[in-house]
């Protein structure tokens, strides 16, 4: 291990022991870049010099940790995924009297509002409850508000149309000077809550889980841990949706799921109990 790696290991250890924020299983290359970026902003020289202010200065830590996460998101990101969700998954969900959905790592909320719109248009919203979680209170607060800069609307509208939207996107927000305020009715059945996928556990049995563009930031071990958490949080035949570059392919959990729409990374939990599958073959 070179010195830089050692310093990073110590830093992550310190954050974990002091505040319970556990980044030890995050993919190192990207995390290292972000730590160095944070370091450059402080004017300190070495990564290990970050440890004292992190231990003794909560505000410093809060600012530092906020910069470690990536919150890039958009409405109907990957429109073809939302189209597949609408056309292939929703019809199956319609057969249930009540459905529970978990959208994990929602960032500023665009993903969960997109989902709410799909559910409305498919007549499923009224019998759904959506748990929208992230481990950052800052982004959760923005998600709760549902107010976004208007300059994003053009892209969002285009994505909405490509995703098979059945009305006009303009029906879902009203525009102020610089912001688009999303319809309060979309929030009615959404529960926003802080949840850390690394350290927190199962809180319900879901019909559908969306966790998109979060797992790319985790190393293989942590991915396995989270896939297990999702497995335990899903009903038999429940769906798991990942980001377009994420896959269960290289994971230990692979055999507990079926890739129902491979291209869009939509998986379905097998009916069998975990572990039984391999033995019963």
């Amino acid at each position: 291990m070179d010195n830089e790696e050692l310093e990073i290991t110590l830093l992550l250890e310190a954050m974990q022991s002091r505040y319970g924020y556990d980044f030890r299983g995050y993919a190192r290359a990207s995390l290292t870049r972000r730590i160095k970026k944070g370091l450059a902003e402080t004017g300190l020289q070495r990564i290990s010099e970050l440890i004292p202010p992190i231990l003794y200065d909560r505000d410093f830590f809060n600012k530092f940790v906020a910069n470690l996460s990536v919150h890039v998101t958009e409405m109907f990101r990957d429109p073809l995924f939302f189209k597949a969700l609408r056309e292939e998954v929703i019809p199956y969900l319609k057969t249930f009297p009540f459905i529970k959905i978990w959208s994990a790592g929602i960032s500023t909320g665009e993903e969960v509002y997109s989902l709410a719109i799909v559910l409305k248009e498919e007549g499923l919203y009224e019998k759904s409850r959506i748990y929208a979680t992230d481990f950052s209170d800052t982004v959760l607060e923005k998600a709760r508000k549902g107010i976004y800069p208007t300059d994003l609307i053009k892209k969002s509208t285009k994505n909405y149309q490509k995703s098979g939207g059945s009305t006009s996107f303009g029906n879902y927000y009203h525009a102020d000077y610089e912001s688009a305020i999303f319809d309060r009715a979309l929030k009615k059945n959404i529960v926003f809550a802080n949840h850390n996928m690394v350290t927190d556990s199962v809180f319900g049995e879901m019909h559908l889980i969306l966790c998109r563009n979060v797992l790319i930031y985790f190393d293989a071990n942590l991915q396995n841990h989270v896939f297990q958490l999702f497995f335990d949080s899903l009903r038999p035949n429940g769906f798991l949706c990942l980001g377009s570059k994420e896959t269960l392919e290289y994971s230990k959990e692979k055999d507990n799921f079926v890739a129902v729409i491979k291209r869009q990374k939509i998986y379905q939990k097998k009916k069998t109990h975990r572990g039984y599958h391999a033995e019963s073959l």
Binding site: E5, A27, A29, S30, T32, I216, A220, E246
Partner: protein, 196 residues
């Protein structure tokens, strides 16, 4: 002592379609190093580039998958709209961090993470392009003891990127596009001979 090279990284932007065809089609099928490429491009144009390069190249050309093990004799292209990074355990990872130098994928991100992993075992190449992404990456490769090459600016469709790389004074060789593949090949054969 001759270096023992382990990997090649290439950064290319405007004019890259032709440049990559020329360079990759000259690599022999016994070329043993993995090659990782960032070509600036839009998300939607992706498969065409991979398919057409694959047809023209004796090595397997594919889009990089997240957590994929880096394998010798394979050419990896960063997917559109994702950064491509090399992990210390020689696997690939992707990220949607903010663009760097207005670019995602960014050449600097690939070069810097590859330099941290391969150090003196890395060869970095800057080809044609109309911005200065890659210059910081070239510097880190040089600092790690790796070998750096720039396409000769006069032979580049867009010379800004090679010029910016050369201006760092961290470029070891300035070669025409046609010279690069034979050069890499010689380099490999030499380092094999010295090992024996």
């Amino acid at each position: 002592m001759q270096n023992h090279y382990e990997a090649v990284v290439i950064g290319v932007s405007a004019g890259g379609f032709r440049a990559l065809h020329t360079l990759l089609s000259e690599l022999p099928d016994h070329f043993t190093l993995p090659v990782m490429i960032v070509q600036h491009r839009k998300a939607s144009a992706e498969n065409y580039l991979v398919t057409s390069l694959n047809k023209n190249c004796r090595l397997l050309v594919k889009e990089a998958d997240e957590k994929e093990k880096i394998t010798s004799g394979t050419v990896y292209l960063a997917p559109g709209d994702y950064h491509l990074l090399v992990e210390k355990d020689k696997t690939l990872s992707l990220s949607i961090d903010e663009p760097v130098c207005y670019s995602r994928p960014s050449i600097d991100v690939l070069f810097e993470t590859a330099a941290a992993t391969y150090q003196a075992g890395l060869i970095g190449i800057i080809l044609t392009g109309a911005n200065s992404d890659g210059s910081a990456g070239i510097r880190s490769i040089k600092a790690g003891g790796g070998l750096t090459i720039s396409q000769h600016p006069e032979t580049a469709e867009a010379d800004t990127m090679p010029l910016a790389a050369i201006a760092t004074k961290a470029v070891d060789y300035i070669l025409t596009l046609q010279e690069i593949s034979p050069f890499l090949n010689d380099l490999l054969e030499q380092s094999h001979e010295t090992k024996e």
